[in-house]
């Protein structure tokens, strides 16, 4: 199975985040919003394991897909040095994406930090008429992909922790206000665990369904090694379930956040 593709473009988005455009008919065509890829960083053992990255957006015509990547450590650093024309070793698309139901007419996508990335293609692909996005950033200078998001939804709200742009505060506070204004049919939340947990609890009160995208350190990326688990309810009990295979997207009410 071939996993080697060509990089079309690498572009800096902000101080520590870059956008990588990769050529792959297969991944562009097959992937659903919310799915991930699993990437080898460099040829050697320097960053030994692959890194899981969400597909940020796809161009199905051109047969390319975009990854928005934040430099955190060794592996993402290696990826940030790649240039157009370089090879990249990508397994994917992997896992289960978001649910795109036509019955959901009004949706809200809520993202914080690196959690905003998978929401872009979700907003592009979702059949709803009314699509709202609430994105959180630490501060104004870190805001990225603003235009792309604006073009993919009906309304874009931005929150910054320090109030340097948009609303000051957490995205969950904005979500609360929006929900209290008008109930959406479905909400998608992606970001730090505390944020997703707060969002899920809020929506539960209003009986609104939601989906979250979970994060965990990964090994194989395809469900075989059982390292990337989170607690998922099963009957009266729960199981540790593979995020790479059964996720990263789960229904908000099936996840147990510890």
């Amino acid at each position: 199975m071939n996993t080697i593709y060509k990089i079309v473009k690498s572009e800096k988005l902000n101080i520590d985040t870059f956008l990588l455009t990769v050529e792959s008919e297969k991944i562009a065509k097959k992937s659903r919003p919310g799915q991930i890829v699993h990437i080898k960083c460099g040829n050697g053992t320097e960053a030994y394991l692959r890194r899981p990255i969400s597909i940020c957006s796809v161009d199905r015509e051109k047969g390319t897909f975009d990854l928005a990547i934040q430099i955190r450590g060794k592996g993402t650093k290696i990826l940030s040095c790649l240039k157009a024309g370089d090879d990249i070793d990508v397994m994917g698309p992997l896992g289960q994406g978001f649910s795109l139901y036509p019955r959901h007419k009004k949706i809200i996508a809520v993202g914080g930090g690196i959690g905003i990335f998978p929401l872009l293609q979700l907003l592009k692909d979702h059949p709803a008429q009314n699509k709202k996005a609430i994105l959180g950033f630490r501060t104004r200078s870190l805001i990225i992909l603003e235009n792309e998001f604006r073009q993919s939804c009906n309304e874009l709200l931005i929150a910054t922790d320090d109030g340097s742009y948009g609303e000051k505060g957490f995205v969950t506070e904005l979500l609360k206000k929006e929900v209290e204004k008008e109930l959406p049919d479905m909400v998608f939340i992606c970001g730090p665990t505390v944020m997703m947990k707060a969002g899920v609890e809020l929506l539960k009160k209003h009986n609104i369904p939601c989906e979250v995208s979970m994060e965990q350190r990964m090994g194989c990326g395809i469900g075989a090694c059982l390292v990337c688990v989170c607690k998922i309810k099963k009957d009266d009990d729960w199981n540790y379930t593979q995020i790479c295979k059964s996720g990263p997207v789960f229904s908000g009410d099936e996840v147990i956040f510890d």
Binding site: K40, Y48, L49, R50, R217, I222, A224, V227, C228
Partner: protein, 304 residues
Amino acid sequence: MNNINLEINIAGIKLKNPVIAASGCFGFGREYSRYFDLNRLGGIAVKGLTKLARKGNPPPRIAETPSGILNSVGLQNPGVKTFIEKEIPFLRSYGIAIIANASGNTIEDYEYMVEILSSADVDGIELNLSCPNVKEGCMSFGSTSNGVFEVVSRVKKKAGKPLIVKLTPNVTDITEIARAAETAGADSVSLINTLLGMAIDAKTKRPILGNVTGGLSGPAVKPIALRMVYQVSKAVKIPIIGMGGISNGTDAVEFLLAGASAVMLGTAGFVNPMAWVETIEGLEKYMIENNVKSVTELIGGLIA
């Protein structure tokens, strides 16, 4: 292919080539079957099984270390009965050896496992006396020769299939443990399981793994594994299945030269899902280039 013979018989388990997927890194084969034809493999050691289903340890369960990984899965599995019902039929659709990896908290658990697996359609049973990620049983039996002797001699009486005893490297003298397994009736030994290790995040001042410690595997441990296979091959007569950091054909050849009759690969597959297939191809290439007709010629062929 060029008249070279990769077949090997491990204590009655026939393998069409000596490359086996290591337990715990390959699930029950379903996932990787989408990446390559499982028929290419010599065999599969399935995820570690226990009497009842086990939830396993809290995440994070993996940490990256220099040229290796730590894992602390803790034997999450659906229980041996579910395996027999749901997984064996799938695996049997391929022409490869099925090795059931079995663990327990007590000797009675191990007896139960060997008994039930002996009447199931598997080719061999790998007795896991070496998992470092569970509190009871397992490595605590596997770290003394008395413990190993007792478990193995007890289960041997129930065993209707070839019995492979999987050894832990976390011991002072692995040859002593291997001899105890042999004396107690093991048909083969496999080594090494993971080395107990730990990773810390200096930023958060916390262990990276949810279980604090975990088992080290991957290329980092290869020199230790190779030494242990070499030592054990001098100490016992039963065939050895070698593993620990194998990533390609050359690595596999090194283990065969050190005295292994077959090899397992686990961690390498996380990085390269074709690692098992490429290892077989690399081994073939080595044999052709070095005019080795049968893989059996390589076993213990080290000039030292």
